[in-house]
């Protein structure tokens, strides 16, 4: 009798499995409301806020950034993805010569998205962007200057 019991048990468990998958298939076929696929180029992609796409520098509406050119991120980066070119210029307020940021160069092609630069930054000047359209036709386009042209340090960051 255990023989027939096993057969019935087998049929029962197989039917349970088929009920589950059928419960996915038929509603999907009719309404498509449970479909989790995002039709990406036609619909906007859903990206989570914590997604690490690339490093960007925050600028306010007056084209000012928070980077003092201290090079903490350059030292923290394990791959050498960040190069900072700095300059000495006369601060108009105090009249003294001072170290300032000239170009914050970021090599996206070498970046492993480890977040160490962002943790190292003392003034929260750089942050993650969720932009994932990073493909280019030329490798040189992956080297980016993060501070916008003509931008300057926001007042009150260094205090």
């Amino acid at each position: 009798m255990a023989y027939f019991g096993k057969i019935l048990y087998g049929i029962k468990t197989l039917w349970t499995g088929m009920k589950v998958t059928g419960g996915y298939f038929f509603p999907n076929l009719l309404t498509k409301k449970d479909v989790i696929t995002v039709q990406y180029p036609d619909e906007p992609a859903v990206v989570f806020e914590r997604f690490k796409g690339e490093v960007v520098m925050w600028h306010n509406e007056n084209n000012e950034h928070r980077c003092t050119g201290c090079q903490a991120c350059e030292i923290a980066c394990p791959n050498g993805s960040i190069e900072i070119i700095w300059k000495r210029e006369v601060d108009p307020e105090t009249g003294k010569k001072k170290k300032m940021l000239d170009q914050h160069i970021y090599h996206l092609s070498m970046c492993t998205m480890c977040s160490l630069c962002i943790q190292a930054c003392p003034t929260n000047a750089i942050m993650w962007s969720v932009n994932f359209h990073n493909a280019t036709y030329d490798r040189s386009q992956l080297t980016k200057v993060l501070n916008k042209p003509g931008s300057k340090l926001m007042a009150g960051v260094e205090e």
């Binding site: 088929m18 589950v20 998958t21 996915y24 298939f25 999907n28 449970d34 696929t37």
Partner: protein, 353 residues
């Protein structure tokens, strides 16, 4: 070919049948080839689409309307691929393997009746011929795997042989149960015998048991999940076609789907009344051959959907479980079932509505 044999061939052409007879035969063969190449591709598309819906996805929907041209694009890509051969391969067996697989599945199609009038060849041992020819395909799998000199391929092919030898028995007993009811091996004869009631309902419980056994054994013979130990991606790479590229791989792939079609077509012919309309609802209408084909393909698609449902539900069996299922369950049940069926037919207890 020497002069003598050419002369004999010409004599055969001119005197026995005439050149037009041969040309018509070649035309029918070309029609079948073209139709089933496209039908195989469409089955691949259907499989991917159905799989998508089972897994809360959409499946291919970009190439052409509703993605219908997706598999044709895939086939074009496969044609353009490099034909690769392993260095130490057995060249003859490696190359002959996929031809045997695809030819055996195409030959089996010849005797399947799509409609009362649409059938390439109506021989009096039709069902026997199909079950004989469709099991030759496993030879091609064994040849290809042995020829490619790859241990994973060989393990996969040995499993395929084991599976085929085991499950052919159960499929045979399921077919015998139907042949007992029909009293003939001829495919059209089997369908005509279901004129009033389909065999699935004609033979009480034994017919239903035979149907279930046939579906299980058919799934196993066409090497589909849950019996796809032959390919077993997780264990064997791709099994017997690991070393194949381009069209060689495409032939194996196409043969698998044509085999699925054959199994479904056999299930429909044997148990679900072939081209006959359910309750005869289209009997009085004109163009009966077309209606026959419509009903046949609707039923075949339903059975194919059932096989796909199995595929996306059940986990793969281990080899010992596979053999236990066959030798401990399906075969004894099939034997007893055949005896009961013979008794029912002898007492003339078949249900006729």
């Amino acid at each position: 070919m020497n002069m003598l044999s050419i002369n004999i061939f010409q004599n055969w052409l001119n005197h026995t049948h005439g050149i037009w007879y041969v040309l018509v035969l070649a035309g029918i063969a070309a029609l079948y080839l073209g139709f089933f190449a496209v039908a195989g591709l469409m089955l691949v598309y259907l499989e991917r689409r159905v799989a998508g819906y089972f897994q809360l996805r959409l499946g291919p929907n970009r190439v052409g309307p509703w993605g219908l041209l997706q598999t044709i694009a895939d086939a074009l890509k496969l044609v353009s691929k490099e034909i690769f051969m392993p260095k130490f391969a057995d060249k003859l067996l490696y190359k002959i393997g996929y031809y045997i697989v695809i030819v055996s599945s195409l030959v089996a199609l010849a005797v399947i009746p799509f409609s009362r009038q649409i059938q390439a060849l109506d021989i009096n041992v039709g069902i026997f011929f199909v079950s004989a020819v469709s099991s030759v395909g496993v030879l091609g799998i064994l040849f290809g795997a042995w020829g490619s000199r790859n241990k994973y391929s060989l393990i996969g092919a040995m499993r395929s042989g084991l599976q085929m030898i085991s499950y052919e028995l159960s499929a045979g007993f399921a077919i015998i149960a139907v042949v007992l009811m029909a009293g003939t091996l001829k495919m059209t004869g089997i369908v005509e015998a279901q004129k009033d009631t389909w065999f699935l309902f004609q033979g009480h419980l034994p017919a239903i048991v035979a149907f279930v056994i046939f579906i299980i054994a058919g799934t196993a013979e066409s090497n589909r999940v849950p019996f796809d130990l032959v390919e077993a991606e997780a264990e064997l790479g791709a099994g017997f076609h690991t070393e194949y590229s381009g069209m060689g791989f495409a032939y194996f792939f196409l043969a698998e789907f044509i085999n699925m079609f054959i199994i479904s077509a056999l299930a429909v012919t044997l148990f679900l009344g072939g081209w006959l309309a359910p309750f005869g609802i289209t009997d009085g209408l004109p163009a009966q051959w077309l209606w026959g084909m419509v009903w046949f393909f609707v039923k075949v698609l339903a059975v194919i959907f059932l096989l796909m449902w199995f595929r996306w539900t059940f986990p793969r069996l281990r080899i010992d479980q596979l053999l236990t299922l066959e030798w401990k369950y399906l075969l004894p049940i099939g034997l007893v079932n055949t005896v009961i069926m013979a008794f029912i037919v002898w007492k003339d207890w078949l249900i006729h509505i």
